[in-house]
Amino acid sequence: MVEMELKRDRIVIRLGTKKWEWVLEPRYWRNTLIWVVVLFLFPTVSYFVSPGLINTMISANIYAAIAMPLALLTIGTGRMNFGPQFYIGVGGYTAALLSIAYGWGPLLTLPFAILMCIVAALIFSPLVLMARGLYYVLLTLLLPLVFLEVTFIYPDIFKGDTGLFGIVPLLDTGNAKNNFLFIGYLSTVIMFAYLWIINKVLKSRYGLLMAAINDDEDVAHSIGINISKIKIIAFVSACTMIGIIGWFYAHYFSSFAGITYLPLTFMLKILLVLMIGGRAQVFGCVLGGYFIAFLEMLMIRFMGPIQPVLFPIILLVLLFVLPEGLFGLYRKRRYREYLPTIHVRR
């Protein structure tokens, strides 16, 4: 008979005298292969089954792709940033305005969107050196809201209420369904690229220095870490990565309105992706992104008008039940890894 036994790190399956073992380690290459293949097969399968699912998948990938740089930002600066969507606004508006004014395609607007995000991040980078705790939270929280007001004050540039229209689309194959499929793959590629880069950074010596800063800034300074340099590099690079998502949004929807991304509701969703995934764990962000995008989709489909009330309640309950997030369920058994998480300070 088939016997299955769950050990600490593996499942052992016995059939007569034969024995198979399966290691329960997300980064064990066979398991990694499984979830990479699943993610790449998903758009193709849903292309034939239900193309709407591709849309949800794109949302999930993009939520994850915003949450991952936010994780880097939080760990690298040792502070919780509540305004990552400001850079979505900067990247998105740069791409949208350039595309509308000069008819530029996504490839031409991308370098300018990146450049603007770098400039904006550099302008606001002294915040990570000067402000800490509540002050930093308040300042970062205010930035996107101020930007939102600016879009209303100058309606002839930003078209505050309605948003900008007529942006050159990301891809145009002539068939909306095919466009969805390709953009689905593109979003997966962006998500994987971010995952790979940020995981590499956090595993490198710089990741270790960031973890030290995240734990105790003064001690990190006293053991010889140039905390200003590390914090500014982490801040600027993470903000630029978030800004690229703004560029993606602008070209994906062919329209861009600050009111969709800059208010607190969008920010809250991203923060929940970060926390429910597993307190700023990069792999957790992917889990959290998919969890929240699909939960949102299911609730919109089945809950109807009660969805806006129930959705945050479910997430809040989850935050209490899983304080370490979804990835924390696995990590609890692997405390030896030094993967840094958010350190909540007063």
């Binding site: 270790l208 220095l209 734990d215 006293s222 053991i223 010889g224 870490i225």
Partner: protein, 248 residues
């Protein structure tokens, strides 16, 4: 002989309170300098000023003849200063090994030091303080003595020339304290470092220190060999109060 560290007329004011008042002393290579004073005398403030954690109001600090008064803490660490804290301040979310690894990577600049090289270094220092078997334990789960040793390993891993030790005996039982003192002596011998040792327990410094500087109310009271300082009337008065002779 050029002193390793020369402190001239160091002053630190917090608003109207003068915490350190015109303190000058020198530390020479290879010696152990004891630093004593009653509670609140300004010992830790001096260390904070020397390591750059607090900016000094006035005065000059020179290391090997280079003025480091305006350098940031990390630059001073790269020059060869390291410190431990009176109350251990570990990186709570990092394991013992990675804490030391972080300081091995970021300490004094070593050319072409790879991540692996730093890891070997960190392992060595961790083994030196006797924490190798605890290398994978999170720092927040270590005992008080182990935290002290981890701090020492973290300070040593920056390859300092001069190490500031802030009250290593506080909170340790006699057995642990003895091995902590033994460890500092061994570190001094094996790595050829100079030690600046703040301590309340006089018996330890009497044995370990080559010279002692005593301060009270932020100002220097006495400087000399342990015997000279212990027999100095002003020092005894600072500890025991005026009129101590009547009760002696």
């Amino acid at each position: 002989m050029v002193p390793l560290l020369k402190v001239s007329n160091l002053v630190k004011r917090f608003g109207g309170i003068v915490a350190v008042n015109d303190v000058s002393f020198e530390i020479y290579k290879g010696e152990t300098l004891g630093f004593i004073g009653p509670n609140g005398a300004g010992k830790s403030t001096v260390v904070n000023c020397l390591t750059g954690y607090l900016p000094a109001t006035a005065g000059k600090v020179e290391m090997n003849g280079v003025d480091i008064s305006h350098m940031k803490p990390h630059e001073r660490t790269h020059m060869g200063l390291a410190r431990t804290y009176q109350i251990p301040r570990p990186f709570p979310e990092l394991t013992a090994l990675t804490s030391v690894l972080a300081s091995s990577i970021s300490g004094k600049k070593r050319i072409n030091q790879s991540f692996q090289d730093a890891m070997y270094d960190a392992t060595h220092y961790l083994e030196f303080v006797g924490l190798f078997s605890k290398r994978n334990i999170l720092a927040r789960d270590l005992t008080f003595y182990e935290l002290r040793m981890l701090e020492l390993a973290r300070a040593l891993a920056t390859t300092p020339q001069l190490i500031f030790i802030d009250e290593v005996m506080a909170g340790l039982n006699p057995g642990e304290a003895k091995s902590a003192v033994h460890m500092i002596r061994r570190a001094k011998e094996e790595f050829g470092i100079t030690v600046f040792w703040i301590e309340h327990v006089m018996a330890v410094l009497m044995e370990a220190a080559d010279r002692i500087v005593a301060i009270n109310y932020g100002a220097k009271l006495a400087e000399g060999t342990p015997e000279e300082v212990v027999n100095n009337d002003e020092v005894v008065e600072a500890y025991l109060g005026r009129g101590w002779r009547e009760y002696a």
